[in-house]
Amino acid sequence: MPVIKSWPTLTRYRSYWVALFVFLGICVGISSSTAVTNTVASTDEDQSYWQQMETHGKNQDVYFYAWGGDAQINAYIQWAAEQIKSQYNINLVHVKFSDTSEAVSRVLAEKSANNNSQGSVDLVWINGANFATMSEHSLLLKHWSNKLPNFALTDPDNNPAVTFDFGIPTEGMEAPWGQASLTFYYDNLAIDGSATNRPPTTLNEILSWSAQHPGRFSYPKPPDFLGMSFLKYALVTLHQNSPENIKSQLNQPATDQNTALVLTPLWDFLDKLHPTLWRKGEHFMQNGAQMRRLVDDTELSLAFTFSAPEVPAAVQRYDFPESIRSYAMDDGSLSNTHFVAIPYNASHPQSAQLVANFLLSPTAQAHKQKASVWGDKTVLIQSTLNNDQQALFKTSEPHPSALPFNSIKRTLSEPHPSWVDAIMQGWEMRYGVSQ
């Protein structure tokens, strides 16, 4: 009875009130999603510069464009958002993209639409080819990351890993966030360690192992970051015994002349490898995450990752069987640093810098390195930290699935980013359309 009573009450309102109500609802929605912007001039003095930054950067929204395909990383960013909220009252909004290039194209689109100060991207997780594209088109804010107080903890004068991104100087356009090396992992129930079935430890062993166990290995389809990394690992390794004049081409831009010369060994290798791969190399997984899932499905027995600690973490969350073991290749591990950058037209550049500085802090970096959280290797150099800060990074007994301590024997540096495009185009032409 009481319910039916409300009908006449309701019907007393005229319908346009209902319409008005809806309209108001929409308006509230708009105003709440409209960001307030604020621009300030900066001063020269680093100290007062940073104080200014703190005063003006507080109480804003920061739209952080970061790949969102990993629940663990998403959870870490959420943790960071809570810390930043309590420290600076900044709302860090994680905008999840399946590919960073989507954020890059967004900034490009804004530039072409003449939106030069109210961009939707405040901070973006980036490195390599995407950074090269953005810096080439002048889409990034310059000379800020070297002024971050915590940047000194990375020992930038002696640590090119934080001032060069795939061989390109960062010029203060990006702040380092984490470090990654290409590490491999396998299912020890499928690769049982017997004489004929040992985990391959060099590129050539991968080829012979995959020929013996067809369909149990593959790599994500370029331009995926991880798939590209495998191709670069193969390229660099294949050239390890090449004459110096060819080898040195890898650190120089790819040109029409040197492309064929440098890439031919890679195509020869792939021509041999592909028929032995998962789905006979006719279909490739979309990304590294899918590769991880296929290992859990036991479709793949061998895989690789750029963030070694994600392996034990995935076991703890049941996303991997307990039989997974990590190891590093004997012929070298491709290594690089990933960064955060601020687009030139960011709506809240000051707040974004506060966030970037927080992400570089010992607390945030140590939390990130914990296997149970994300397990991404820190970019901070231990010798720059005080004892309390160093203690944050101490870990307990390593997980059986984790990469054994000190197992990376030699690191391979990334080739010039222009090779990414060259490899991708050649790959697309040769293998992009299955016959």
């Binding site: 929409i26 789905r279 299955s434």
Partner: protein
Amino acid sequence: MSALSKDKTASSARAAHHKTDRFTRLVKYSPRFLLALLILPVLGGLLSVLLPAFGWAPALEQTTIGLQGFKALWQTPGITQMATLSVATGLISTLLAFLMTLMILAAFFNSLWLNRIERLLSPILVIPHAAAAIAVGFLIAPSGMFSRLVSPWLTGWELAPHGIFPHDPYGISIILGLTLKELPFLLLMALGVLAQPELGKKLRQQHKVALNLGYRPMTAFFKVVLPNLYPLLRLPIFAVLAYASASVEMPLILGPNTPPTLAVAIMNWFNDVDLNLRIKASAGAVLQLALTGSLLALWLACEKTIKTLCSDLLTNGQRDYGGDFWHKVIIVLTTLVIGFILLALMGLVMWSVAGFWRFPAALPEQLVLLHFQSALMQMGSPLFNTLTIGLVTTIFAVVLTLLCLESEQLTAKPLSRFTSLIIYLPLLVPSIAFLFGLVWLQQLINNQTAFFNVAFTHLLFVLPYVFLSLSSSYRRLDPRFSNVAASLGATPCKVFLQVKLPQLFAPILIAAALGLAISFGQYLPTLLAGGGRIATITTEAVTLANGASRRTSAVYAIMQIALPLIGFILAWVLPKCFFKSARR
């Protein structure tokens, strides 16, 4: 004192008169508003895709009209494969879904089983495409439920076998997913037509007459019912065909990527770092439009041909075409389909709570709530976005639809054929073709109000369904109630609010639930119009579908199913509570 009260009465009478006027005016203008709301964005969006396709994109400093976009498109490796895949998956899945619908209807027409099948299949309707694709993927993968059920005791597989599903190059997985998803839609549309009192009664009676004349039930259906039923099914079929040939979610989750379907490739080009690819993408969108258009034309042509060829069959008097055999086939097929769907859903639920679950175990080693816990902790803002956008859009759509239908009754003129066609425009034009243009337009006007942009874009897809769902009940209202009320002096506004709306309580709730379900399920419009800033359960589910954890994607798929289901349950339960208390 009396003067005062007299004055009051007079003023309130004036006010009432004034308000009636406004209501009528509001109602009268609503169809035009509806038309503008649907035509402008779709046509504007199409135009903003057409211009760049022919090389005119001032934002990219390209102002020379030419065919360079199309040239780049033709030179793309595998472009014919992309187009063929899109066309083939769209056509075959629609054809399969349509044939299955016909066979189920024919076999179970006028039988209790039809209602049972309807009840079993209608929950499938609320499952968003992404969730359905995830569930189907769990089933057909080499390590999926099917191969787990037969391993290792039958096959000896200790590791997942080599297989081609999902992501097979022939698009079979896509066809499977689309067919399973569209079959319930077409079936429920057909049942909706049959539920119309006059038409349904007429058809059932004619069917009975045919039975009395010795026709087998299935023959009677095809010869008597179908010719009357089909014209009313054409529009839903077209919507399915247009959707299937240009959809993104299913091919993204189940389709191949060397090369992908055209729609997926277009999306990738639009999102590429290289802005100049947008020219090619626009050309691709035009190609997609042409392909979908030709598919619709092809369907129409086939329809005409079959009609001509079969006109003799209708009157040749033959009573039976192996009806018993076909009846058995259909029972087996229907059982298979329902079993497939149930198994897929069970797999989904099991993955969402699975601990370690190594192939070939048929059941997880342990059940844990960890995945739900960690997902729910991160689900706050996507959930909030999903609900608010859905509610704002649906309320607006329902109000506008009611006003339009009321205008139809006030002016005693049914909506023109043109208007009815326009309402379905967003369903017939492939969304990939006009959404990018629309986003471009929205960026030109303002780029900060992501919430509004998303809600507005959702409205384009919600409105047609709400209209479709409400219009038949509204037009079926007994006019005598309103006539009596009006003759007692009630204003049109009062009649609308106090006589018509209460009678329509249940249909309005169903339409609202449908609108919410449609809004909840939108992937491409949310992603594009929101620029990725507005995360909803669906965008998260699609992102995670190809992510690292089957368990997390299962949780999101379940959330995707749960939300619309709750809406429909409320729509179903609330009227019962209301009317129960009213009867007391």
